[in-house]
């Protein structure tokens, strides 16, 4: 224990994830004076190693940094880029590479592990990498870019080691556009976590993703090409495999050399031996994280490391806590492939039973390991569908309470974990947060959503795999409190969107200021302002930039274009039904060429032009409007596109004119603002080439008229539209869509697509039918009138803007330099067009083109 009369000197060696957690924990608990010196040999502050792979999907290194507030605390000194090379136990001091000495009362070893390479010839060749640090992934990315340019073809990559990390790395290679192969020495992938059946199923799933797998392949050497860089692997059986990039993920080795040098007890297979209080054989020295060996094992997961950090911090501040031992639960972080393994996955417990569900066609394998009475959950394996992981993991060691089979059924079958988790169940294993702790955060600390709970308890802050479970627990608790999950739009309005719509309509208010004064408070935000802009657009119908309306619009609606990642915009002219004349195509092509815009066909059957600067939008649109184009409202929560198939006009199967109908519908509903975007599809026969049933309204031709489907959705939660009515005439179809849309616009929540609105509708689809065709609510005349007003008032937003100098003034790039382009823009050519330069390309300064072609105002 620390002598409370003087400042306790704590030195932490290694500035990784576990060290960071330790420092954070000590700072929040220490009530006596401490001074902490944190020494790390990487060139940066502690970062989220678990999230390392997200670097390849564009996450910047800075965004991986762990909470920096600990370094702002004046009790902490952080030294980066220096390595501790010696411990003098007698003098209680450490010495660093730069010859600095630090005295300690307590020394914490948190030096983590080394990533191992296979000890064969050539494993150090250029092009060979390990996968552990930000430096590793950055140099890998640089190498790949250079090598790709050198060889002028798609690169081939090999990942040696088919465990969790290896599969993650294979995904990362794929993200870099490299053909990747995973090479595994044993008989299956993830052999530490999966049994043979699970590993084989996983292999199928990985191969289906386009990643090749070689099992039972031992690499014996790596060969260089003429440039000296790696070019091939050779295997024990004489086989040969081409590879331009090789990543070793063959396991980790504890960095225990300091401890060995200081004659601390170390396990023969590596790792500094600790007791249950994290003390090493010298009680003044503690070891935590991957370097610590407890009970004969080191474990390469962050959760037990965090648990050790808490134990060590408790000890330092004079409390008592013990490390309960390792629970190994892991989930593969490779998009599109679900694998989880938890607890006693191999049924090593005496007389354990297992229950297995396997569906080779769907690529699903699930196994639960249970105690001999089939009551207590011991562990399990989930491959192909790991949706039950979040609810099962917290139950390890607890009674299942239901038939275990319920947990194994396909997703959506049975909602197994509907019951309550016991208080002691660990929901977030990264930060060891129990269901009870989350409940406390809701009841005693006033948290009302998963984000607040994250800030308060750290649940969900690391790997994120528990977030859905956290949400669920929070939801249950709020319901208990009678706060049935608030419908308030935001802090400025207590009403839901639907209530607000009615309130504004009845009060006949027409400005934001009047509405917020009467029904709300403050001056609004990014939630209520656009929602009111949409409501006012339907009820009043003014231009998006008229008067106060303009200040309510989301940035996209405000400039009538879609903001892109570098602050430029995309331009999408409307092409009703996907129909466009050759002359129209020429115009678009010419405009794109004159302004140096990147062009691409959208998923909505029209053309998108990217990279237009704010001050260019009016000149581009002037040319489009002159050529007869109108705004496509790709930016608004409004009608997007009406997708069509070619239909009876050309197609030998078509029974009705689907293009004609699509054009008619698109022209009718263009510009209609709604709680979320609206899409329609029209197919000329039941073959459904327009994929109409994935749209908010799907129209499909039959010999006897149109069938109308509603509530379809692609996107995040796909849903097929349901049949609302059949055999409609053109007029009946249009009237039914009018009513459907207006009823939705009046009653849906903010950002609720028709799919979830239909699902929640009182009376379901039958109720909807009664409203639309039998006028069961007596509102049809109202709905028809509202739509007629929309159709009558429609005016192209861009044409109107171009006529109005006040509106055009909004498109100055700078108020003091109206036509000067944003000087920070930079571009790189790719496949014959320009795209925004990445941060790295800007930094390397090699391939950058500043700004796009300058256009002359005509």
């Amino acid at each position: 224990m620390i002598d409370h009369t003087k400042v306790a000197e704590i030195v932490v060696v290694g500035a990784g994830m576990v060290a960071h957690r330790f420092v954070e924990s000590v700072l929040t608990r220490a009530d006596s004076a401490v001074r902490i010196t944190l020494i790390g040999d990487e060139s940066r502050a502690p970062y989220d190693r678990v999230g390392l792979t997200s670097y390849f999907s564009g996450v910047a290194p800075e965004d991986l940094a762990l909470a920096p507030d600990v370094f702002a605390d004046d009790r902490v000194e952080f030294i980066s880029n220096d390595r501790v090379i010696h411990i003098d136990r007698a003098a209680r001091s450490v010495r660093t590479r730069s010859r600095r000495e630090f005295r300690y009362d307590r020394l914490i070893l948190a030096t983590g592990s080394y990533a191992a390479r296979v000890a064969v010839d050539g494993s150090d060749l250029p092009g060979c990498f390990v996968y552990r640090t930000l430096d590793d992934v950055q140099s890998m990315r640089r190498f790949v870019a250079r090598r790709q340019a050198e060889l002028g073809r798609t690169l081939r990559g090999a990942v040696i080691g088919g465990g969790l990390l290896g599969l993650e790395a294979a995904g990362a290679l794929q993200a870099l556009n490299i053909e990747s192969t995973v090479v595994q020495a044993s008989d299956r992938l993830m052999s530490a976590q999966l049994d043979f059946a699970g590993g084989s199923m996983l292999r199928q799933l990985i191969e289906a993703k386009g990643i090749a797998v070689r099992i039972q392949s031992r690499t014996t050497r790596l060969d260089p090409d003429d440039s000296g860089a790696v070019t091939a692997l050779e295997f024990e059986n004489g086989d040969f495999h081409r590879a331009d990039v090789v990543v070793f993920t063959v396991g980790v080795r504890p960095r225990d050399e300091l401890a060995r040098g200081a004659q601390l007890s170390v396990h023969p297979r590596g790792g500094v031996l600790i007791d249950e209080c994290c003390r090493t054989s010298d009680p003044a020295i503690l070891a935590i994280g991957e370097v610590a060996n407890f009970d004969g094992r080191c474990v390469g997961l962050v959760a037990p490391g965090y648990a050790m950090a808490e134990v060590a911090a408790t000890l330092i501040v004079g409390g008592e806590a013990t490390f309960p031992g390792f629970v190994e639960s892991t989930k593969l972080k490779l998009s599109g492939v679900e694998v989880a393994s938890f607890g006693d996955a191999f049924a090593r417990t005496d007389r354990a039973l297992d229950v297995v569900y396997s569906d080779p066609v769907a690529g699903v394998y699930k196994k639960l390991v249970l105690s001999d009475d089939a009551q207590t959950l011991l562990g399990g394996i989930l491959v192909g569908d790991a949706s039950a992981y979040g609810s099962l993991r917290p139950l390890i060691g607890a009674q299942l309470g239901t038939d275990p089979v319920a947990y194994l059924m396909p997703e959506g079958g049975v909602d197994a974990p509907s019951g309550q988790l016991p208080d002691e169940a660990v929901v977030c294993s990264c930060s060891n947060v129990t269901a009870g702790r989350i409940r406390e955060a809701v009841h005693e600390e006033g948290c009302t959503d998963a984000n607040a709970v994250k800030a308060c308890t750290k649940a969900g802050a690391t790997c994120g795999s528990c977030v859905l479970m956290v949400k669920k627990v929070v939801g249950q608790e709020l319901t208990k409190l009678g706060q049935d999950v608030s419908h308030a739009l935001c802090e400025h309005f207590d009403m839901s969107r639907r209530q607000l719509f009615d309130a504004v309509r009845v009060a006949e208010l027409t400005t934001f200021s009047a509405i917020i004064e009467r029904f709300g408070r403050g001056r609004g935000c990014d939630i209520c302002k656009p929602a009111l802009a949409s409501i006012l657009s339907v009820l009043v119908g003014d231009h998006v930039l008229d008067g106060e309306n303009a200040s309510l619009q989301d940035t996209n609606d405000h400039v009538m274009a879609n903001m892109q990642k570098d602050g430029t915009y995309s331009v999408v002219p409307r092409m009703p039904g996907g129909e466009v004349t050759p002359a129209g195509l020429v115009t678009i092509g010419q405009i794109a060429q004159d302004f140096g815009l990147y062009t691409k066909l959208t998923g909505g059957q029209r053309i998108d032009m990217f990279g237009a600067r704010l001050e260019q939008l009016p000149i581009i649109w002037q040319r489009l409007v002159d050529a007869g184009f109108e705004s496509g409202q790709a930016y608004g929560k409004s009608l997007r596109t009406v997708k069509s198939c070619v239909g009876s006009t050309w197609c030998r199967f078509g029974v009705l004119d689907s293009v004609g109908m699509a054009v008619q519908l698109e022209l009718r509903y263009r510009g209609l603002r709604a709680p979320h975007k609206l899409k329609i599809g029209v197919s000329g026969c039941a073959r459904e080439c327009a994929e109409a049933r994935s749209k908010d309204v799907g129209v499909i031709a039959t010999e006897t008229g149109w069938n109308m489907y509603v509530g379809g959705n692609g996107g995040f939660t796909p849903r097929h539209a349901e049949l609302l009515a059949s055999d409609l005439s053109d007029e009946a179809l249009v009237q039914a869509i009018d009513r459907f849309f207006m009823y939705y616009i009046r009653t849906a929540d903010r950002l609720q697509r028709t799919a979830s609105w239909c699902e929640e509708l009182d009376g379901g689809i039958d109720g909807l039918r009664a409203v639309i065709f039998e006028d069961s609510l007596g509102i049809c005349a109202d709905l028809d009138a509202a739509m007629a007003r929309h159709v009558d008032n429609y005016e192209d937003e861009w044409a109107a803007t171009l006529r109005d100098p006040d509106k055009l003034a909004r498109f100055r790039s700078f108020i003091n330099a109206a036509d000067v382009p944003d000087p920070s823009l930079a571009y790189v050519p790719t496949r014959g067009q320009l795209r925004p330069a990445t941060a790295e390309e800007r930094a390397s300064n090699s391939v950058v083109i500043a700004g796009t072609t300058l256009a002359v105002r005509s």
């Binding site: 001056r523 903001m563 108020i815």
Partner: protein, 127 residues
Amino acid sequence: MTLVTEQSTPVRVCAIDDLVVERGSAVLLGDVQIALFRLPDGAVHAVSNLDPYSGAHVMSRGIVGTRGDAQIVISPMHKQVFDLSTGECLDAQGKQLRHLAVWPVRRDGDDILLLPGPGATNTTEEH
């Protein structure tokens, strides 16, 4: 808040009526981009136009509003929330906190003046 120590002369950037209430405007001073906001109460605030989260110069294009008593602008890119008078980030959307530099705004009759040079931040973190 630390004060700008560098001696520089204020530059006129626009007239008050060039600014739209509750909608930002960008200003270019040398290489520096600044976002100006005019609020309903007549106050004018100047913060960095660079969104520290996306790296794009877009703050002037965010929605303006309030959070509690604070006057705020919300990044149009990924919705981080900043206090217009201090530049402080009030909601990092789960990211690490990064703040906006702020510039003192001077009014001379109808003219809006800014001091060129780096803005001031009220914290030690990078922006």
